[in-house]
Amino acid sequence: MSDHTTSSFREVKGKYKGIFAWIFSTDHKRIGLLYLYSIVSFFLIGVLLGIVMKLELMAPGKTVIDPATYNAIFTLHGVIMIFLVVVPGLPAIFGNFLLPIMIGAKDVAFPKLNLLSWWIYVFGAIIALSSLFMGGGPPDTGWTFYAPYAFKTNTNMLPAVLGAFILGFSSILTGINFIVTIHRMRAPGMTWFKMPLFPWTLYGTGWIQILATPIVGITLLMIVGERVLNIGFFDPALGGDPILYQHLFWIYSHPAVYIMILPAMGAISEIIPTFANKSIFGYKAIVISTLAIAFVGYFVWGHHMFTSGMSGTALYTFSLLTFIVAIPSAIKVFNWVGTLHKASIQLETPFFWAASFLFVFMIGGLSGLALGALATNVHLHDTAFVVAHFHFIVFGGVGFAFMGAIHYWFPKIWGRMYNSKLATSGWIIFFIGFCTLYLPMFFLGVTGMPRRYYDYVERFHGPNIVSTIGSWVLLLGLIIIIYNLVNAAYNGKKATKNPWGGRTLEWTVDSPPSLENFEEIPVVERGPYDYRKNRES
């Protein structure tokens, strides 16, 4: 389609040239892509570390690496994937690129702050990764840095924690930026309940980022106080309490899981109505459940500590709250499936990702029930079951939503189309690989294999082999997907403004959008998912 009246944001010449046109740009779309490229690079490193771990676990005893390397690898895998990939993931990439367009704005509220967030992110990432090359080598503490082991080890844990601290600021600034943007910059006529669901989830996420992230900062200051000034906060040898550390860690890190999953749910809420050609079922129920998850999510951190020796009262309170936070997630799933009733479904790759998201997210969520109940948790705590549950939520949930989102918004971002057949085969291979990789871990956990295990007894051998093979299949799927998308970004067919028939505002602007997105700020008169023919806009 050649109805480009203005040149796209990629073609506009700014003050700077070459790479500087990107790293000094305050355009929310360029910043979104900067995040995309950095996050995907870290993701690939994390994937490779994961593949090496699975290879090591293919057989008991030493397979390819020694225990010290293994412990460092699972720590780095966790630190990179959590702090550098999944927490910033969807909000920083798709939030930046799409939030202003979806609410009819020209940019976010504070474009310079937005660029600063990316710089802080890169700085934090460099500090965290510097632990690899300095001092006593990469940390071997697990991404949770539990006291007192993390304070005793001679490896380099301080830079990793410092990195997490700096990354926290990036997260807080992005949160503030999005909240202000949503409050102040919605297009005329776009009332709160006419706002699409992806911005709604970014709004909930923004609040969690602002309120929960400072806890990481406080914790880090206490760690520094302990290591440098010998003040005993956490180390029992100095009179501290290791359990205090766990509380502080999870007060942030549990809500962080909702920072990860809420925008993923938002992306799914965009994809499903578009491909169903039908209004989303229960829009308000989804909005309310988003806010409920963001709110109740603050009060469930104790379920990470059911075997730590907390009081009985604390245990059943946290267990009860954990079950309550499950309800809004269930409501969302019902509404998504309800949307498909009497729909007219286009079977395209983004929809396959969304449908398989529902499947893996349900497995992740339902397996969480056994972890939320006290009697069963005691048996499953710190076993491979938890690893499987977590990966089904974070890699299955967030990862599948990310894949769905990138296949959904690809034509908007790059202005080109990818090969749909190849994309679908990539999806099915990835999906099969994913299930083969993580389902056996549920079984391993139920039969008693602890997590973070370098070696295991013979009866855990079979499921571990299956799991390792799954990791290869998943990798194959990933290679196909990346090849297809990179190839399409350069050589794909030109995409139209609205290839899928979406109704939200980003589908009314050019692909790729112009520098200021809209020539004229639109006036919004209908709900975001109104697919009735006579409401065509």
């Binding site: 539990y146 229960g282 309800i327 498909l340 449908a355 349900m362 056994a370 109940a373 039969t447 295990y453």
Partner: protein
């Protein structure tokens, strides 16, 4: 090898497992049901079958139904989980106490008469209470077949109890990551007849060790290394773990780091003594400081002599 899945391995198994069946049962039902709905809709309402979507914005009735039903179900799961866990908290007054000590990377078990073993022996059909002590970092005692687990936190008292109804051997794992040899920190619980257990824990433990000396002095030294979990970090065959091997240790020159300086010294009786009672003062070059805790007030003089005898043998003296 070891018994793993037995209904009466401990008194908690049946209750915990019925909670599992309840929660997994409902979960699998929901998973299959919702997935079936989804696949059915996708097939029935795909574009080639249904060109025109109906405009439906939602239904308050349905929202209420699918809020209330999951709420009731999860509350029932909460209750099931809570009631199945409650009696793990009520330790019977007559439970036999066994002090359980965790350190990097071994468990040791001390009975009322002072006897220390590296395998946990418990009598069948009698409640046993493990008093958990962690010496260095977090550990977690996990007996999968018994469905019990409890973190061991340095400086904090904790305990677990159980009553086993079936003789046999069951695996013990450390479930909380504790560093380099975490996955090697395992042990076994042996459920034995009550009479045998009484026999074992009634006799004077020092007599037991002295008895061994008469039989074979080397054997006594080996028992001491097992009793204190030394073999988690040191070997007798010259291979390198976290700490140096016992093999050929005596009468050789060693390079050690003392107060930041490298010095050569002869490994004699005094050297071994310092290595056990003040292990971080001198560190053999190439090994890490701070991993070993002092065994002061634990390893007795008799036991030290037995160790020395064993090391002499390993050093060809």
């Amino acid at each position: 090898m070891n018994e793993q899945m037995t209904n009466n391995a401990s008194n908690f198994v049946s209750q915990v497992d019925s909670a599992f069946v309840y929660i997994f049962g409902i979960s699998i039902l929901f998973l299959i049901g919702i997935t079936a709905f989804m696949v059915y809709y996708i097939l029935k309402y795909r574009k080639s079958k249904n060109a025109e979507a109906s405009h439906i914005e939602g239904s308050n009735t349905l929202e209420i139904i699918w809020t209330v039903i999951p709420t009731i179900l999860v509350l029932s799961m909460f209750y099931y989980g809570w009631s199945g866990w409650r009696n793990q908290q009520d330790v019977p007054d007559d439970a036999i106490p066994i002090k359980t000590i965790a350190r990097m990377w071994s468990f040791t078990f001390q009975y009322e008469n002072g006897l220390i073993t590296d395998t946990l022996y418990v009598p069948i059909n009698k409640p046993v209470k493990l008093d958990l002590v962690a010496l260095d970092v977090l550990h977690s005692l996990y007996i999968p077949s018994f469905r019990v687990k409890q973190d061991m936190v340095p400086g904090k008292e904790a305990n677990i109890w159980f009553e086993s109804g079936k003789e046999g051997e069951y695996d013990i794992y450390c479930a909380e990551y504790c560093g380099l040899r975490h996955s090697f920190m395992t042990s076994i619980v042996k459920v034995i007849p009550a009479a045998e257990f009484d026999e074992m824990t009634k006799i004077d433990s020092t007599a037991l060790v002295n008895n061994n000396i008469e039989v074979d002095s080397r054997q006594a030294g080996i028992s001491v290394t097992r009793k204190y979990g030394c073999n988690a970090c040191h070997t007798a065959d010259g291979s390198k773990l976290v700490g140096p091997s016992y093999k050929n240790i005596l009468g050789r020159m060693r390079t050690v780091i003392k107060e930041g300086e490298e010095i050569e010294m002869m490994a004699d009786e005094d050297y071994i003594r310092r290595s056990i009672y003040d292990p971080n003062a001198e560190i053999v070059k190439g090994y890490e400081k701070g991993l070993m805790l002092s065994y002061k007030d634990q390893v007795t003089e008799d036991e030290f002599q037995q160790l020395l005898e064993y090391f002499r043998y390993l050093s060809g003296q």
